[in-house]
């Protein structure tokens, strides 16, 4: 098992990402009143959409992970991060997210527009 190849690949991916804008954290605006809980309507029908919303965005739209939308991140780099994980990011196996779904998720992230909260910063 060669660890060297793993780290050199990630290093390349990191350089690629560094060129794609800042990684600000999103701390949300304080609110008063009632808590909103997610219901049935929050469940996407499409498999890639489901992974994107229920997995990636659970960390990347909540400030846990850096903003990854609207940065033109290259799909190959996104996939490397998902498969290898990096530092605080967990890795995802093929059994968890199959290659075809990951291709589509990477496309979605890569082509996404910046979220409203990010634009405001």
């Amino acid at each position: 098992m060669s660890r060297k190849s793993k780290y050199s690949l990630l290093a390349v991916a990191l350089v690629a990402l560094a060129a794609c804008g800042s990684t600000s954290d999103t701390t949300q605006a304080p609110g008063k009143g009632k808590l909103t809980y997610l219901g049935k309507e929050s469940i996407p029908k499409d498999k890639a959409e489901m992974v994107f919303q229920q997995t990636c965005m659970a960390c990347h739209a909540t400030g846990v992970g850096p903003v990854i939308l609207g940065r033109d991140l290259p799909p190959e780099a996104i996939k490397l991060f998902v498969r290898h994980g990096n530092r605080a990011m967990p890795a995802f196996t093929e059994a968890m997210i199959d290659n075809e779904t990951l291709d589509r998720v990477a496309e979605m992230v890569s082509k996404s527009k910046a979220p409203a909260t990010q634009a405001a910063q």
Partner: protein, 516 residues
């Protein structure tokens, strides 16, 4: 990409023997379900503990989709003496993740066995395959309008009830002690036989998920935190959605208040006023969910006390933050709320915070989600506190007595600070015990800090051990040391069972310190 000569090999297994086993596994499962390339194995090698990756490098990973395939895998493993490390969803972060306990074991990944076999909305039970995630089950309940709640650990969405329960994990609802709420399992034994525990062995039985104990010796326990079989089905109990739910927080100013808090909470918990696995989170745990440490401190060692004071002031957090909830009819909740208010008042300090005060603000929001079994990954914020992705849970069990929790807090702090690390901690409230959970966070990309974390963890185990305290669960790097704390006779009995049930030692050697 595939380099067949470079597999990590299990101890005592020759490359030819290993290759032969892989050949048979490919024939059984199809080549696409036998993963050997670096690329395919990469996600199975990402660990967070201080042990080097090499020690936990899998030789391969195989994906099974049926009980028959699991039986077939174990047969091949017996034949070639190649061990397998079963995982369900493989999200055992901070305890070893998806990587095997020792080098070269083949990960037996059951993620593709992901059928929700049955949810009984009347008895409020579920029968699940190992690959089911909490998110999948949550989606299923919502989509089918079944008013039942899950109890999940903080990695909720991406982890699963079978793996979590088999490692005796915890959640935050009244069903938070997961193994207590487990009922019936199906286990493939090393010899290929399929055991159904509890009522499951009775032909035509319909009480497998209704009655835990069955007849004669109760066996389910020996298949948790162990390596005596591969679990292929698990029954769990689900909680009926209550008509009213009231999450709340109580903040206490001083570290020493832990004593007062525990004394206040114990009667509430024992008398079922606060029925859930409530938590008492310290300021760093609380802060980590919303900010990186660098917002207030850019040093590398232990976070200074003044900085913690500043965070408490500016972020509006307590030294200790209790999260608990009330469940029931609106009338019951009202009565119990008054009891809680009086109990807090009687302590002469403590600030009560409700949903009306905070709305959707974190960390209240994610705590409220967890206490009703909703999906959230907010707690992963812990990993940006210091950064670098190193984490080991140090989880000693404490009596639910204020003086004891205080003594454990002081001891943990002293040892962590000696190594320049932080006391990022919570107590999870049990009936008579507390799971004292310390996240030993370190920068895993820094070899020096990783080595310090390793030494620190060793010392935490031994110093706590000297005082009669031991952890309820531990990462794969420290399973031997932990097993020793539980004594020789326990280790001998564990081994006797291992030899009887798995004489070739092919299932997860090293799990909980058990070898054949």
């Amino acid at each position: 990409m595939t380099d067949e000569t470079q597999h990590a090999l299990p101890q005592g297994v020759s490359p030819a023997q290993f290759e032969a086993a892989l050949g048979q596994l490919r024939a059984l499962l199809g080549p696409e379900n036998v993963l050997t390339s670096d690329e395919q194995l990469a996600p199975y090698t990402k660990v967070m503990m201080s042990d080097p990756d090499e020690k936990h490098m899998p030789g391969a990973a195989v994906l099974a989709t049926s009980v028959e395939q699991v039986q077939g895998v174990l047969k091949i493993c017996n034949q070639f003496k190649t061990p397998v490390w079963p995982i369900s969803t493989g999200r055992n972060f901070g305890y070893g993740s998806a990587a095997p306990g020792t080098r070269g074991q083949i990960v037996l990944d059951l993620k593709h066995m992901n059928k929700i076999i049955e949810v009984d909305p009347v008895l409020c039970t579920a029968l699940l395959e190992p690959g089911v995630t909490y998110q999948q089950l949550w989606n299923y309940l919502k989509e089918n309008d079944i008013p039942l709640w899950l109890s999940c650990p903080a990695p909720s969405a991406i982890a699963g009830p079978v793996g979590n329960t088999l490692d005796r994990g915890v959640g935050y609802t009244p069903y938070g002690e997961h193994f207590m709420m487990q009922c019936g399992m199906e286990v493939v034994l090393a010899n290929g036989e399929v055991l159904r525990t509890g009522m499951g062995g009775v032909e035509k039985s319909n009480t497998w998920q209704a009655f835990k104990w069955g007849y004669g010796p109760y066996l389910d326990g020996i298949f948790t935190q162990s390596n005596y079989g591969v679990v292929t089905k698990l029954g769990i109990w689900l909680m009926p959605q209550p008509p009213a739910y009231k999450p709340f927080c109580i903040q206490y100013e001083d570290e020493g208040d832990i004593d007062t808090i525990v004394e206040m909470l114990r009667p509430l918990k024992l008398n079922n006023i606060v029925p859930n696995a409530a938590v008492i989170a310290n300021v760093m745990w609380e802060a980590a969910a919303v900010i990186p440490r660098s917002k207030y401190y850019d040093g590398t060692g232990t976070t200074p006390k003044e900085v913690l004071e500043e965070i408490k002031q500016k972020e509006g957090m307590g030294a200790w933050n209790v999260y608990a909830a009330l469940y029931g009819t609106p009338e019951q909740v009202e009565v119990n709320w008054n009891i809680v208010k009086k109990a807090v008042e009687a302590t002469g300090k403590g600030k009560l915070i409700t949903e009306e005060d905070t709305g959707d603000r974190e960390p209240f929001r994610y705590r409220a989600q967890l206490m009703k079994g909703d999906m959230t990954l907010q707690e992963f914020g812990l990993y940006r506190w210091r950064g670098g992705g190193g984490s080991m849970w140090f989880a000693p069990v404490s009596q639910a007595k204020g003086s004891e929790t205080k003594a454990q807090m002081e001891l943990a702090q002293e040892i962590l600070n000696e190594y320049g690390l932080d006391y990022v901690a919570e107590f999870i409230v049990g009936m008579r015990d507390m799971h004292h959970i310390v996240d030993v966070l370190f920068d895993r990309s820094d070899p020096g800090e990783t080595a310090r974390a390793h030494e620190c963890f060793t010392k935490l185990l031994s110093e706590f051990g000297k005082r009669g305290y031991a952890v309820y669960r531990v990462n794969t790097g420290f399973m031997e040391q932990t097993a020793d704390l539980y004594g020789k006779v326990k280790r001998d009995v564990d081994q006797t069972l291992k030899r009887a049930l798995d004489p070739n030692g092919i299932i997860a050697p090293g799990k909980s310190g058990i070898f054949v």
